[in-house]
C-alpha cells in the first residue's frame, strides 16, 4: 500500500494550506503590528485564490475518504467549499476598502476570516460527527470574535456576546445529540450510522431520533431558522457591516451544506421524521422572515429578517429530501451568496461624511441623488423578492420545483404566498429610493475594489437567466455526489 498519510494529505490540501497561511499571517501581523493590516488582507485574499485553484480541478472527481473515514471529499463538499471561499474572498476585498473608514482596520480581521473559512471547509468535508463538531467550533469561535470586532461600540460587543451565548448553547445541543446517536448506534461515523440504520429492519431507535432532533436544532441555530432565529437581527445589526456580510454568507452556506449531508447520509432512513420538522421550520422561517421584516426601520435588521426568510426557502428544498431538492438548495445558496454580498455591499455605501448610516429613511430619494447605486439596489431587491428575470426567482423556482416533485403541495403553496408578503418590504426599499423625495444625500465615494465586487454581484444577479448552465451543471454534479440522495 501507498504511504497513506501522504495520499490523504493531498485530499486535505486546501484546508492545510489555508490553515498554514492563516497561522503565518497571524505571526506576521503579531510581529509587524497594526500597520501590516493591509498587507495581511492582500495576502489572505491571495492565499484564498491559491486554495481556490487547488480545489477547482477536483470538482467532478470520485468520492474519496481519508483518515479512517473521518473526512470525505466529493463534488458536493468541493463545490460548497468553493462557495465559502468565494464569499470569504469577496468579503475580504470589500472589507479592505471599508475597514479603514470604520476604524477597525486590524490585521486580525483577515486572519479570523481565514480561520472561520477553514473551519467551515472542514465542516463540509466531515464524515464523522466529531470532525463536524471540530470544524463547527473552529469557525464559530472565529465568528464570535468577528461579531464583536468593533469593540468600542456597545452594539458590537453585545452582538458578540449574544452570538457567543446562543452559539454555545446550540453547539451544546448538537454535541448532546451526537452523544445520543453514538449511544444508540455505537458509532459517530456517517457511513457506519447509515449502514446500521439501513440494515436495521426493526426501525430506528427512538433515542437515535431524539439525537437527530437535537442535532437538527443545533443546525437550525446556526442557519438561523425559526424558532431558533432570535439572535439574527441583533447580531446582524450590531456587528460591523463587513462582518454581517460574512455572517450572511459563508457560515450559513457551510452549515446548510453539512445539515444536508447529515440528513441525507447518516439519517437518510429517518426521512419521514426530519421531513416533518423541516417543513414546519421552513414554513415558520418563511413566515417570520416575511412578517418580521415589515416593520423594521433599520436596513440591516430588515435584511436580517430577509435572510431568515431565504433560509426558509432553502429549507423547502432540503425538506424535499431528493437529489433534485439538494441541487435546488445549492443553486439557491449560490445565487443568494451574490445577492447577500451585493445588498450588504450596498449597505456599506450608505454613509454620510464617512460614517455608516443604516436607517431606511436615509435612502429617501436615492434614485435622484445617486441613480447608479439606486439601480443596483433595485436589482438586488427585486431579485431577493423573487421577481423574474433576476436570479432570486430562479433560486425559488428550483426549490419549489423540487418540493412539487416530492409532493409537498401545502408547503409550496404557503411558500409562494409568503413570498408575496416578503415582496412587500423589498418593494418598500425600492419605494423609498425611487418614489420618496430626496433627503440629505449619501456620500458619493465608492472605493474602486468595492465597486468591482458590487459590479460582479449585479451581473450575476441580473444576467443569470441568460446563461444559467455553469451554475446548474456544477450544482447537478454536486448534488449527485451525495450518497444518500435518491
Amino acid at each position: 500500500m501507498l504511504p497513506i498519510p501522504v495520499l490523504e494529505a493531498t485530499l486535505f490540501m486546501p484546508e492545510v494550506f489555508l490553515l498554514v497561511s492563516a497561522i503565518i499571517l497571524l505571526m506576521l501581523g503579531a510581529f509587524m503590528g497594526s500597520k501590516s493590516a493591509l498587507g495581511v488582507t492582500l495576502l489572505s485574499v491571495f492565499s484564498l485564490v491559491l486554495a481556490l485553484n487547488i480545489i477547482a480541478p477536483s470538482l467532478g472527481e470520485e468520492r474519496v475518504f481519508a483518515f479512517d473515514d473521518l473526512f470525505v471529499r466529493d463534488t458536493f463538499s468541493q463545490y460548497v467549499k468553493l462557495l465559502i471561499m468565494v464569499s470569504a474572498g469577496l468579503v475580504l476585498i470589500i472589507g479592505k476598502a471599508w475597514l479603514r473608514h470604520d476604524h477597525v482596520q486590524k490585521f486580525e480581521f483577515p486572519v479570523l476570516v481565514l480561520f472561520a473559512t477553514v473551519g467551515s471547509m472542514v465542516m463540509v468535508s466531515a464524515n464523522d460527527l466529531l470532525t463536524l463538531y471540530i470544524g463547527l467550533e473552529l469557525s464559530s469561535l472565529a465568528l464570535y470574535v468577528l461579531a464583536s470586532f468593533d469593540r468600542d461600540n456597545a452594539r458590537s460587543s453585545e452582538a458578540g456576546l449574544k452570538y457567543f451565548v446562543l452559539g454555545a448553547l446550540a453547539s451544546g445541543m448538537m454535541l448532546f445529540g451526537a452523544s445520543l446517536v453514538y449511544g444508540y448506534t455505537g458509532s459517530t461515523n456517517f457511513s457506519a450510522i447509515a449502514t446500521l440504520f439501513g440494515e436495521d429492519q426493526v426501525g430506528v431507535a427512538h433515542g437515535a431520533i431524539i439525537g437527530m432532533v437535537l442535532i437538527t436544532v443545533g443546525f437550525c441555530f446556526k442557519i438561523s431558522a425559526v424558532p431558533f432565529h432570535m439572535w439574527t437581527p441583533d447580531v446582524y445589526q450590531g456587528s460591523p457591516t463587513v462582518v454581517t456580510m460574512f455572517f450572511a454568507t459563508a457560515p450559513k452556506i457551510a452549515a446548510m451544506a453539512v445539515f444536508i449531508r447529515v440528513l441525507t447520509e447518516p439519517f437518510a432512513e429517518m426521512l419521514p421524521d426530519w421531513q416533518v420538522i423541516l417543513q414546519i421550520t421552513a414554513i415558520l422561517s418563511m413566515a417570520v422572515g416575511a412578517f418580521g421584516a415589515m416593520m423594521q426601520t433599520s436596513i440591516k435588521r430588515l435584511l436580517a429578517y430577509g435572510s431568515i426568510g431565504h433560509i426558509g426557502y432553502a429549507l423547502v428544498g432540503v425538506a424535499a429530501g431528493t437529489s433534485e431538492g439538494i441541487k435546488a438548495v445549492l443553486i439557491y445558496l449560490t445565487l443568494y451568496l451574490f445577492m447577500a454580498i451585493g445588498t450588504f455591499g450596498f449597505v456599506l455605501l450608505m454613509r454620510r461624511n464617512g460614517e455608516q448610516v443604516e436607517e431606511l429613511t436615509d435612502l429617501a430619494g436615492l434614485a435622484k441623488s445617486r441613480p447608479r447605486p439606486a439601480l443596483f439596489m433595485l436589482i438586488m431587491m427585486f431579485s431577493m423578492a423573487g421577481i423574474p428575470p433576476f436570479a432570486g426567482f430562479f433560486g425559488k423556482m428550483f426549490v419549489f420545483l423540487s418540493a412539487i416533485e416530492a409532493g409537498l403541495y401545502t408547503l409550496s403553496i404557503i411558500g409562494v404566498l409568503t413570498s408575496v408578503v416578503a415582496a412587500f418590504y423589498y418593494l418598500k426599499v425600492v419605494k423609498i429610493m425611487y418614489f420618496d423625495e430626496p433627503g440629505e444625500p449619501i456620500d458619493r465615494y465608492i472605493p474602486f475594489v468595492a465597486g468591482v465586487v458590487l459590479m460582479i454581484c449585479a451581473l450575476v444577479t441580473a444576467l443569470f437567466f441568460l446563461y444559467p448552465t455553469p451554475i446548474l451543471n456544477a450544482a447537478t454534479l454536486a448534488a449527485g455526489s451525495l450518497v444518500g440522495s435518491v
Binding site: 425611487y434 418614489f435 447537478t476
Partner: protein, 526 residues
C-alpha cells in the same frame, strides 16, 4: 425572417439601454430620450408590420418559431413563435407604444430619460409574453412586466400613486405565484414546459388535477383581466398612473389575462374549463352589470373608464368560455378593440387633463365650444365604447353575444344588459364633459388639440372605424388559430387518448379536416 421575434424583443431593449445610457451624456437631454424612444417604438412597429406581412394567415401553426437551449438538463427552452392569436396582440402592443410615447411628450417632464427607458423595456417584456412558446419563458415575461409598471405608477403617478403602485404589484404577484406552482406541476408531470407539447398532453390529466391547475391559473389571469371580484386594484392603478401608463394598462396589460385564458386554460385544461364555465359566466355577468352600474356614479373620468374596462373585459371572458368559434373570435376582437378604444379614451382624458389638471367630471362641461376637434374625436371613441355598429366595439360584442347564446342563453341576457348600461354611462359621461354650458371659467381658455395630439388620434380613429366596417382584416388570420383552440377545448374522450398516444406526432398534427373557417368569416363581416 427567422429571428424576427427575437429581434422584436431585442429592439426595444437596445433602445431602452441607449436611451438610458446615452441620455445622460448628451446635451439634448430630455429631447434626446423622447426622440430615441419614439424612433425605437416606430422601428419596432415597422418590424412587426413586416412580420405581419409575412404571416401566413391561413395556418394555425406557430410561425417564425425559434428554439434555443436555455436550461441545460431541463426540458426548458427559449422557444418563441406566433399564431393568429398572438399576432394581433403583438401588433396591438407595437401599435400603441409610439402613441404612448407621443402622449407623454409634454406631460412627462421629470426624469424623462428613465420614463422612456422603462416604457421601452415594458414593450419588450409585453411582446415577450405574447410570443413565448415556453411556459417558463412566458412566466418570466409575465412577471417581469410588474417591475417597470410599478415604477411608472410610483414615480410619475398622481396623488395616491404609492398606494396604487403597491396594490397593483402585490395583487398581481399574489395571483401569479400560484400560476408558477401550476407551471412547475405541469413540468413535473410532463417533463417539459413547451407550450405546444403541453397543449397536446395536458388534456390527458384527470379532471381533479385539471381543476386544481385551472384554479391556480384562473386566479392569475382573473387578476390580470381583471374579473370581478379581483378587479379592485384596477381603478386605483388606472387613476393614479400617468396617461401613458393607463393606456398601456388598459390597452395591453389587461389583455395578458385574456390571452392567458385562450392560450393555457382552454387548450390545456379543457375538461376543467367546461366544469368551471358556468362560474366564469356568473362572475363575468356580475362584472358586466355591477361595474357598469359603478361606472355610472363615478365622479372621476379615469375611474369611470377604468370600471368600463372591467365591464368590457367581462365580455372577453364570456366569449372565451363559450367554447365556440364565434365566442372565441369575439373575445379576441373585443380585446383588440378594447385595447384601441379604452386606450384612446384614456388619451382623451389625458388631453383635457393636461389642460385643466383635474379629472373631476363636474369641472368640465361645454368643452365642445372651445375644442370642436377634440369633441369629435372623443365622440368616435365614446360610440365605439358603447358598441355602435360601424365601430370595432360592435363587432366584438355582437360576436360574443352570438357565441354565448349558443353556449348559455342565460349568460347572453346578462351580457346584453351590459351593452345598454355601457351606452348609458359613456353617453352620460360625454354629455357632462363635452356638451352643456361652460360653467367653469377655466374651460373657456382651453385650446383645441395640437398637431401632436392629432397625430396619435388619427390612426386610432382610422383603425377603430376600419375594424368596425371590415373586421375580417383581423378575423381572417385569426380564424384558423381560434378553430384550433375550439377543437382543443372540445370534450371528446377519443381526442384525449389520441393526444397521449400521438406524443411523437408533429406539433399540432391533428387539426380537424373541416375548419369552420368559411362560416366564421361570414359572422365576422356582419
Amino acid at each position: 425572417m427567422e429571428n424576427i421575434l427575437t429581434a422584436l424583443i431585442a429592439l426595444p431593449v437596445v433602445g431602452a439601454t441607449l436611451t438610458y445610457v446615452l441620455g445622460r451624456n448628451i446635451d439634448l437631454g430630455d429631447n434626446f430620450a423622447r426622440w430615441s424612444a419614439l424612433l425605437t417604438t416606430l422601428a419596432t412597429f415597422a418590424l412587426s408590420l413586416v412580420m405581419a406581412a409575412n404571416f401566413d394567415g391561413s395556418s394555425a401553426e406557430f410561425q417564425f418559431a425559434e428554439k434555443l437551449n436555455w436550461f441545460k438538463g431541463y426540458e426548458i427552452y427559449y422557444h418563441v413563435g406566433i399564431d393568429g392569436i398572438s399576432l394581433w396582440m403583438v401588433l396591438l402592443t407595437t401599435f400603441l407604444m409610439p402613441i404612448c410615447i407621443l402622449c407623454s411628450w409634454e406631460s412627462i417632464t421629470t426624469r424623462v430619460r428613465e420614463f422612456m427607458a422603462l416604457f421601452l423595456l415594458l414593450e419588450a417584456l409585453v411582446i415577450g409574453v405574447f410570443v413565448s412558446l415556453d411556459l417558463l419563458l412566458f412566466y418570466l415575461f409575465f412577471e417581469a412586466v410588474l417591475i417597470p409598471m410599478y415604477l411608472i405608477i410610483g414615480i410619475w403617478g398622481g396623488q395616491n400613486r404609492i398606494y396604487a403602485a403597491y396594490k397593483f404589484f402585490l395583487y398581481t404577484l399574489a395571483g401569479s405565484v400560484l400560476f408558477l406552482l401550476a407551471l412547475l406541476y405541469l413540468y413535473f408531470t410532463f417533463g417539459t414546459t413547451d407550450i405546444p407539447t403541453l397543449m397536446e398532453q395536458a388534456p390527458s390529466l384527470s379532471l381533479e388535477i385539471q381543476k386544481y391547475l385551472w384554479l391556480a391559473m384562473f386566479v392569475s389571469f382573473a387578476v390580470k383581466v381583471p374579473m370581478w371580484p379581483f378587479h379592485t386594484w384596477l381603478p386605483d392603478a388606472h387613476v393614479q398612473a400617468p396617461t401613458a401608463g393607463s393606456v398601456i394598462l388598459a390597452g395591453i396589460l389587461l389583455k395578458l389575462g385574456g390571452y392567458g385564458f385562450l392560450r393555457f386554460s382552454l387548450p390545456m385544461l379543457p375538461e376543467a374549463s367546461h366544469a368551471f364555465a358556468d362560474y366564469v359566466f356568473v362572475l363575468s355577468i356580475i362584472a358586466v352589470v355591477y361595474t357598469s352600474l359603478v361606472a355610472l356614479v363615478q365622479e372621476d373620468m379615469k375611474k369611470l373608464i377604468a370600471y368600463s374596462s372591467v365591464a368590457h373585459m367581462g365580455f372577453v371572458t364570456i366569449g372565451a368560455f363559450s367554447f365556440n368559434q364565434q365566442g372565441l373570435e369575439g373575445a379576441m376582437i373585443q380585446m383588440v378593440s378594447h385595447g384601441l378604444v379604452s386606450g384612446a379614451l384614456f388619451l382623451c382624458v389625458g388631453v383635457i387633463y393636461d389642460r385643466l389638471h383635474t379629472r373631476d367630471i363636474a369641472k368640465y362641461g361645454g368643452v365642445v365650444n372651445v375644442m370642436p376637434y377634440y369633441a369629435a374625436t372623443f365622440m368616435v371613441f365614446t360610440m365605439a365604447s358603447a358598441g355602435l355598429p360601424g365601430t370595432s366595439g360592435f363587432v366584438g360584442e355582437i360576436l360574443v353575444i352570438v357565441g354565448s347564446y349558443q353556449a348559455a342563453a342565460w349568460a347572453t341576457v346578462g351580457a346584453a344588459t351590459g351593452l345598454v348600461l355601457g351606452a348609458a354611462y359613456m353617453l352620460w359621461l360625454y354629455r357632462r364633459v363635452v356638451f352643456g354650458e361652460i360653467t367653469n371659467e377655466e374651460v373657456k381658455h382651453m385650446k383645441d388639440m395640437n398637431v401632436r395630439e392629432h397625430l396619435y388620434f388619427v390612426p386610432l380613429i382610422a383603425l377603430v372605424l376600419w375594424l368596425g366596417v371590415y373586421p375580417s382584416t383581423i378575423s381572417s388570420s385569426l380564424a384558423p388559430s381560434i378553430a384550433k383552440v375550439v377543437e382543443q377545448v372540445k370534450l371528446t374522450p377519443a381526442k384525449v387518448v389520441s393526444a397521449v398516444t400521438q406524443e411523437t406526432n408533429a406539433e399540432m398534427g391533428n387539426l380537424p379536416e373541416t375548419l369552420p373557417e368559411a362560416e366564421t368569416q361570414d359572422e365576422g363581416h356582419e
